[in-house]
């Protein structure tokens, strides 16, 4: 019986209809547990998202919500996986975790062999460790600059293309709006808390200033350079002037809070904020648009840190067949399309960028191709299992600089030393 079901599950890559015919009558109904970070309205949408799969297979799935901070999620995942817990069947994993958690997940290469060619090859590659497909991509992520088109128009300013422009525009509009009585108005909100998100933000500043990407793909440590220091110096000037001083404790949701109550001209955030910002309860509904992040320091390229989430099946799950079937469904076109429409998540399936329904519901998604082409990966591949420590040292150095604890040049010099200590003879 199990074998029959397994075949059914494997076949179910795309169409739920296949499951309807083969799965329902023979499969025992399993109850799966899927753990995922809770950002935006992802948790609320999940029930609708999996409903077709639940109906088709007779299984049920319960979502276990995690803190929004990816650093916190990772810690919990690591503990569960180290203990070999069978309580969780599927994990939603960040794009950077594949090398660190590879041993704990089921190889998806075989079950997903029909689905894989539909995805962006680079994303599939990011989840492949030593020939093993650790997780299936369910959406990709690249941040953009959110701007208030009404305010830019009102004050006669163009959308900034460099960080210096952004600084000026933000200050001018902030001053004008405050003079007009909006005391809580700010120029630019972003994610400055000392966590993985700050690594993403800072990588964008540094990379777009021509300061490299912390650790280069060949493993060399490149962060201690003048452009990187110049980028951080510029950002330091934002804290308390165009950005609230509290931005140093902000994560995605805090930044969105300020922005979505109409209290900021610019925000740096991930695509999920687009759909929410256009919700009926949003003060900025219909008033904003997105653009690629600015570049800086006379350098041409803008950079957006490549994010993205994947679904992995735990090696310790006792219901692996059902779990694999769910993973295939969630990574498949039907679920990705629904996520794109309801949560403005970027699909990882190439064809969906030409989907008319998605374009109508979330007009930014086709436009995001521009942002996506400038995406820069975090150095998780070259630094392997030491990535978290590298990232933590980096965000600490940046957070210290921004909170006035040492200059950018000093902190980056120290960081270089720390990173070479961590690296040892090789990553």
């Amino acid at each position: 019986m199990k074998k029959i079901f397994k075949v059914a599950a494997l076949r179910s890559t795309v169409a739920a209809g296949v499951l309807m015919t083969a799965g329902v009558s023979v499969a025992p109904a399993d109850e799966l547990f899927y753990v995922s970070g809770a950002i935006g309205n992802a948790i609320a949408n999940f029930k609708t998202l999996v409903q077709p799969w639940e109906q088709a297979t007779g299984h049920t799935v319960t979502i276990v919500p995690m803190p929004a901070s990816t650093s916190d999620q990772f810690a919990q995942y690591r503990l569960w996986l180290a203990a070999g817990t069978a309580d969780i069947d599927l994990y939603q994993t960040d794009v950077i975790w594949a090398p660190q958690l590879a041993d704990h997940f089921v190889d998806m290469a075989e079950p997903a062999k029909d689905l894989v060619p539909q995805h962006f090859p680079s994303i599939i590659e990011s989840q492949t460790v030593g020939g093993k497909l650790v997780a299936l991509p369910i959406f990709t992520d690249a941040p953009a600059l959110y701007y208030r088109k009404d305010l830019l128009e009102k004050h006669g300013k163009p959308v900034p293309t460099t960080w210096e422009d952004l600084t000026e525009t933000a200050r001018a509009i902030q001053d004008a709006e405050r003079a007009a009585g909006k005391a809580d108005f700010w120029g630019f909100v972003w994610q400055g808390n000392a966590y993985e998100g700050l690594t993403c933000n800072a990588l964008e500043w540094v990379k777009s200033f021509g300061g490299g990407q912390i650790v280069e793909p060949d493993g060399s440590i490149s962060i201690n350079n003048a452009q990187a220091a110049a980028a951080l110096d510029l950002v330091k000037g934002w804290v308390g002037s165009i950005s609230p001083a509290g931005v140093l404790a902000y994560q995605e949701e805090e930044a969105r809070g300020v922005w979505q109550t109409g209290n900021a001209v610019f925000m740096r955030n991930w695509p999920y904020a687009y759909g929410l910002g256009n919700g009926t309860d949003s003060a900025v509904q219909g008033l904003f648009d997105v653009a690629p992040l600015p570049s800086g320091g006379g350098h041409e390229g803008s950079a957006a840190t490549l994010g993205g989430w994947n679904i992995a099946v735990s090696k310790y799950s006792t219901k692996q067949d059902a779990a694999i079937s769910l993973a295939l469904y969630l990574a498949g076109p039907e679920a990705q399309k629904q996520r794109a429409i309801s949560e403005s998540n970027l699909p990882t399936i190439v064809a969906l960028y030409d989907d008319a329904e998605i374009a109508a519901a979330q007009p930014i998604i086709p436009l995001w191709k521009d942002v996506f082409t400038q995406a820069v990966p975090r150095p998780s591949a070259p630094t392997k299992g030491k990535y978290n420590e590298v990232s933590a040292r980096f965000w600490s150095a940046v957070h210290n600089t921004l909170s006035g604890n040492g200059t950018a040049a000093e902190n980056l010099e120290l960081l270089e030393l720390e990173l070479s200590d961590i690296k040892g003879s090789s990553w």
Binding site: A75, G192, A194, A249, S396, H399, S403
Partner: protein, 319 residues
């Protein structure tokens, strides 16, 4: 402890009681060995190995390397490694000690004041006593989150109140900036734990015989003098025990710092940093070494305190 002389054959009453007490305590002792002694010993053992979280059972014995080791590079330069020369660790030790000293001192003083007030006779005293315990009853993680919102720079009620009272002229990012983050942690901890201290001290105050005060009043002694000469010496044992409880607690503070403030060097404590190494960085053994040091520091503190303060934890008033 004294033993009564045995009467022929049958155990004395005291012996019977001791035997019964042992059997009543045995389940708890067994539980303590399982949940306290065993993990402690195992952590200490881990700290001498190269265990990682991905491979908990495959660690090899490496001696003191996690604490301190000297290596000679090929260039002939010698470098010291290990947590004892790790500036991040000493920064965390300093943060923790600073936090513990300030919070325990303030909590003791404030707790004493609250206890003295609650010890006085007034209408509705029972209600006030119950109400004051509320901050202590709220789980730390919840109060940390509540305070995080109250201290939020943009939406927080604290900034709003201070602004409307004209005490500050612009919103303060309490938890974000390195200068105020530690204050934020202290404020929340003091808010949470003062009631606990007050309750313990109040218990001590209630033990003080009332007739002493009556005598003092008849003799016309100033209340302040009565407090320092009578009340304080009499509640000293209670106070010392209360302080040691809080000291133990504050030296291993984790949740408040972790939830309330960004993960920055300004507030990282020993527990935070050892967890970071164990879990986030997959340097399980290194984190275990830091946990072991944390344990040793707390143990040394407590022993010193008991020794210097001559605290009586046994409950025997045989001094």
């Amino acid at each position: 402890m004294t033993f009564l002389p045995l009467r022929s054959g049958e155990p004395s009453l005291l012996q019977q009681r001791q035997r019964a007490a042992f059997w009543f305590l045995a389940p708890m002792l067994a539980a303590l060995i399982c949940v306290a002694a065993w993990p402690l010993l195992r952590t200490i053992w881990f700290s001498f190995t190269d265990t990682t979280l991905s491979d908990l059972y495959g660690g090899q014995w490496i001696g003191f390397d996690n604490y301190l080791s000297m290596r000679t590079l090929s260039s002939g330069r010698t470098v010291w490694r290990g947590t004892l020369v790790d500036p991040a660790w000493w920064n965390a030790v300093w943060n923790t000690l600073r936090f513990a000293l300030v919070s325990v001192t303030l909590e003791t003083v404030l707790g004493l004041i609250v206890a003295l007030v609650l010890n006085a006779e007034f209408r509705g005293r029972g209600l006030v006593r119950a109400a004051i315990l509320i901050p202590w009853a709220i789980p730390t993680i919840v109060s940390a989150k509540i305070w995080a919102w109250m201290l939020n720079d943009q939406f927080g009620i604290i900034n709003d109140m201070l602004l409307s009272l004209d005490l500050i002229d612009q919103k303060i990012a309490w938890t974000a900036s390195a200068d105020t983050a530690m204050y934020a942690v202290l404020i929340v901890d003091i808010w949470k734990t003062t009631p606990f201290m007050a309750l313990l001290i109040l218990a001590g105050l209630q033990m003080v015989p009332r007739d002493i005060y009556e005598a003092a009043r008849i003799d016309g002694i100033h209340p302040v003098k009565v407090f320092f000469r009578v009340t304080l010496p009499l509640i000293r044992p209670t106070l010392m025990v209360a302080v040691i409880f809080r000291m133990l607690d504050s030296l291993r503070i984790f949740d408040l710092v972790y939830v309330l403030t960004p993960n920055s060097a300004a507030t990282k404590t020993m527990s935070v940093i050892s967890r970071e190494n164990m879990v986030d960085f997959d340097k399980f053994a290194y984190g275990a070494a830091q946990s072991t040091l944390l344990f040793s520091i707390i143990a040394i503190f407590v022993l010193l305190y008991i020794w210097l303060g001559r605290v009586d934890l046994t409950g025997d008033s045989s001094r």
